[in-house]
Symmetry: D2
Subunit: 323 residues, 4 copies
């Protein structure tokens, strides 16, 4: 069976992590090349594969059969369009692009290309805990969902984090995963920031009728913690604390939280990347993957929330017509 050559653009934290996964944990693919403006960083992540500084050259390389984009957000739009133009499948870290208009260009470019080429890297859709929750929700054994409570807590926001990034960087994950988990679209949001702005609480209304409450806390200090609880007609389903072991020490029984999203979603990234590779091989994109349209929706909603956060009023969302 032929192994698919993957080219990765970006050799930062996520690019290096993707390189590790593609090279060492995915069946049916290999790391063909990795590009980064900083060549030494590309080389460090490349293992035996090619290291480049030129992303365009990587996309054009005939040994690169599919492209994985983990470069700075501002470059996504251009690089995804280049992959589409080259007719190569592309998995792009979120956000798909920086604005609704740019996302729309990508959606349209893919439509013109005549086949699904774009996957947005909302990896949570492949997280086993979210998938177990979705299976319970879809199975209807607990009846319809009435309210979904979500918490997204980072131990500490990076120093370069601005207020809007809590929305465009963190809330955006909730925007995507809850649409997928609940198979519905948001219609409106009420944003209620705490006086210091962090945490903030968002209450979404949905086409299906139920509510989604989301707490975003960028400086929760105690650890990285993503939690969801679906409250349904006859019961609830929620995530278990993700630790595999428990210890008893110094007066307490304790279970550890991961430090950040990488250990928490390690399996999700691997499974996402395997599904992406399988989809390329089978010419059938993975059923649950986030599409270009999904990437657009996330960016579009986040943009409107950023615009509305200062006002406390309920915001009714607007989306471009579905392509």
């Amino acid at each position: 069976m032929k192994s698919i050559g993957i080219g990765i653009i970006g050799a930062g934290v996520m690019g290096a992590e993707h390189a590790r996964i593609i090279a060492g944990e995915v069946s049916g693919a290999h790391l063909a090349a990795i590009a980064d403006a900083d060549l030494s960083r590309a080389e460090a992540a490349a293992g035996g594969a090619k290291a480049l500084t030129d992303a365009e050259a990587l996309t054009a390389d005939p040994e690169v059969e599919a492209v994985l984009i983990a470069s700075p957000d501002a470059t996504h739009h251009r690089l995804v369009l280049a992959a589409i133009a080259a007719g190569k499948p592309v998995l792009c870290e979120k956000p798909l692009a920086a604005s609704t208009a740019e996302c729309l260009e990508i959606v349209e470019a893919e439509r013109r290309a005549g086949r699904r080429l774009v996957q947005t890297g909302f990896m949570r859709r492949f997280d086993p805990a979210y998938r177990d929750m979705k299976q319970v929700i879809d199975g209807k054994g607990l009846g319809d969902v009435r309210i979904l409570h979500c918490q997204h807590r980072n131990a500490a926001a990076p120093s370069w984090f601005t207020g809007a990034m809590a929305i465009t960087n963190s809330l955006v994950h909730e925007l995507d995963i809850c649409r997928w988990l609940l198979s519905t679209e948001y219609t409106a949001v009420t944003a209620i920031p705490s006086p210091s702005g962090d945490p903030a609480l968002f209450v979404f209304e949905t086409e299906a009728g139920f509510l989604v409450s989301v707490e975003i806390f960028m400086n929760a200090a105690y650890g990285y913690h993503v939690h969801a609880e679906a409250v349904c007609e006859t019961g609830t389903v929620s995530m278990a604390q993700p630790a595999l072991i428990r210890s008893r020490h110094e007066g307490a029984e304790a279970a550890a939280f991961p430090q950040n999203w990488i250990p928490r979603f390690r399996d999700a990234y691997r499974i996402q990347n395997q599904a992406w590779v399988d989809g390329i091989r089978d010419r059938t994109p993975p059923k649950d993957a986030s599409t270009a349209w999904d990437g657009l929706v996330a960016t579009c909603l986040a943009d409107q929330i950023v615009g509305a956060i200062a006002k406390r009023d309920r915001l009714v969302f607007e989306l471009p017509p579905r392509q």
Copy 2:
């Protein structure tokens, strides 16, 4: 040491429960009499004590040194005033009275009496789990509170429940306990009912600045479940699942929920009643007890929320001047 004679008004579910507690689980007091419009019900709850139909006669009885009111809500105002007039300490099940105006009459009557006679039966203040949470919060080991999330879930609303009762009967407990837990006052609320009205989500702002989110679900089906999680600057503190045992059976490890508030708050009622009796004996009302003013605040806020629930707008609370 002299035992204090307690008279109970009302021999329904809660009246009978209080009779059981006073007669069998409280030190320094005994059940002197119990009154109910239905004499047979009063007799069933009385054990060897007097059973009456006339609440006024009970309050006037010289063997009744303190009065515990567990009669229908509409009678509370009149009966509390009668106890104050008789100069007898009174513990009144919530609500203290049906309207802010009636509560204010009680507050003023007590003020004129010149000493603390009234305790409102917000028993959660004596619940060991809430007290453990308060100790952690007040200890500041986790820094200041940033947001408090509360869930109040009943297995099923009684058939006679109307929409407003979710607020006046259930939310009212959250109104009282969170003020006490966080040592602050609410300033405003945003109410976001789900389309079916149940559950409903309420987001409170407080003088201290942080937020309080409360989900009220009257028909949660799976059991009676009261939960609170305080999210603080450097950590969180929340209630553990209240079961004492866990079983493994038929493919799962499970811990049971209580069926309703009585088993869940059995200890809270006992400890509240003991503290009330101790306070009478020592002529020092229990430090944490809910006062007449606290009863007024709960009724006053609930009334405003009932009036505002139809409108989705943020409601700024108004309170009469603190007496």
Copy 3:
């Protein structure tokens, strides 16, 4: 209703705790007197009650209608016999007496008195968690028990603890509670101490056929932890971690252990003492209370285990004929 006057012998840690419970948390009784060789200690625990140094005088005092013994172990035998001689109900902290022969004297003295006067203070029988477990086991919903695993862990053994005390002081609780929990008698034990002697593992065989494994760890360091898991034909039932709250802080979610047996079994002591008082009033000893015979069995088994611990062989128990 008449209040029963209780006399307590011993004003150490447990005596003072019992005085607090009798004076402040039990219905239908009051603390009449407390005796301790150290008068100031007796006075400190007495509240307004009489403080004495003479235990015999306390037992003889006509205002003392029932006696609670919490004095040093070596005095139990003599003091229990004195209470029986005085015809007064007596609740004796474990051990009932220091040897099987002494216990047998008590059993026979009580038999000659013609009525149940003695209760051995194995308070765990009144612990809500053990009672919930017993209800599940007796309900047979999980089928018959196949093995019961127990852990008894102290944070640290007191300095005056000798090896045998792990058996006579700690294991003895397991000896009593498991007989009660499982409604059977032990037939044999295999003792397997770890090389350092602490922890030690004991595997009991029972008349009913199933096994009981007990780990005793006197210096478990992390906290005071008593745990039991009954493994039955179709499932298991075990104790939940006893904390009422959980906190998340510094990278972990944690639930605290109590420091020692007093907070862990606070409710058990209160409920035991209330049941004892109720039994005196109703002239019907509490159904589940540990009798003089139960006290004898615990001491008798512990004695045999102490004698056999050095040998690794299986020990078949011998008991005097049931009185």
Copy 4:
């Protein structure tokens, strides 16, 4: 990078599972061939790879660079020797062989071959929960281990299970994993079967001094449950319940158990197989893998326990001299 061709012998439950993993989840390898006496079963598991009935032919096939044995236990000895003779790395499902003598032949054949070719399929060494436990134990943050408690519970023993298979099939996993987890060797065992024989309790002594207690329950009914708790000098570390989600329904909060070992150890098998493949590529066997010698130890100890189970006496183990 060259992909390694794997040949699998046996297309039953485990063989098919290994085929799925090698073909779809492992980087750097592909399924070259699969052999089974039942050709249709081999074909069903083969995907596009070769399907054979002849295991010898598979081992000899030049496209098969490494052999994975998942055939009936009785064939392991012969097939492992054949792989060694062919100079091909071999991963053999446990047991390595049916007797100590046969295992010894394998150990000696590998020694003569001059390099590590054999890995025994004790996959638990790659289970993330066991690895997290080992990291805590080896880190010594809790001090030395004092006792390790293990439970191995199957929902129901297959109909063809005989008593000895509880030892050779189930206990054997505990024999291997605890040696690895604790970095020590067993010196003796006391076996204490319950009267019905199931469950049985085994208490092991070790060279390092501490104890290991193991409960084997072949018909635990409630689910498949493997648990371990290491009790150390200053604390404990144990496995968390492995469910990723929790549900609340019909009066209880519940977390599901897997039905059998395949979902429980799905990750362990994948990680084991990836490590095996990586080790072949790097010519460096995985550090933690179970060797031929480890396979011998497990079989040798299990054999002695089977011989001794009827006798209740303590059994001192004997092992052939370490090769």
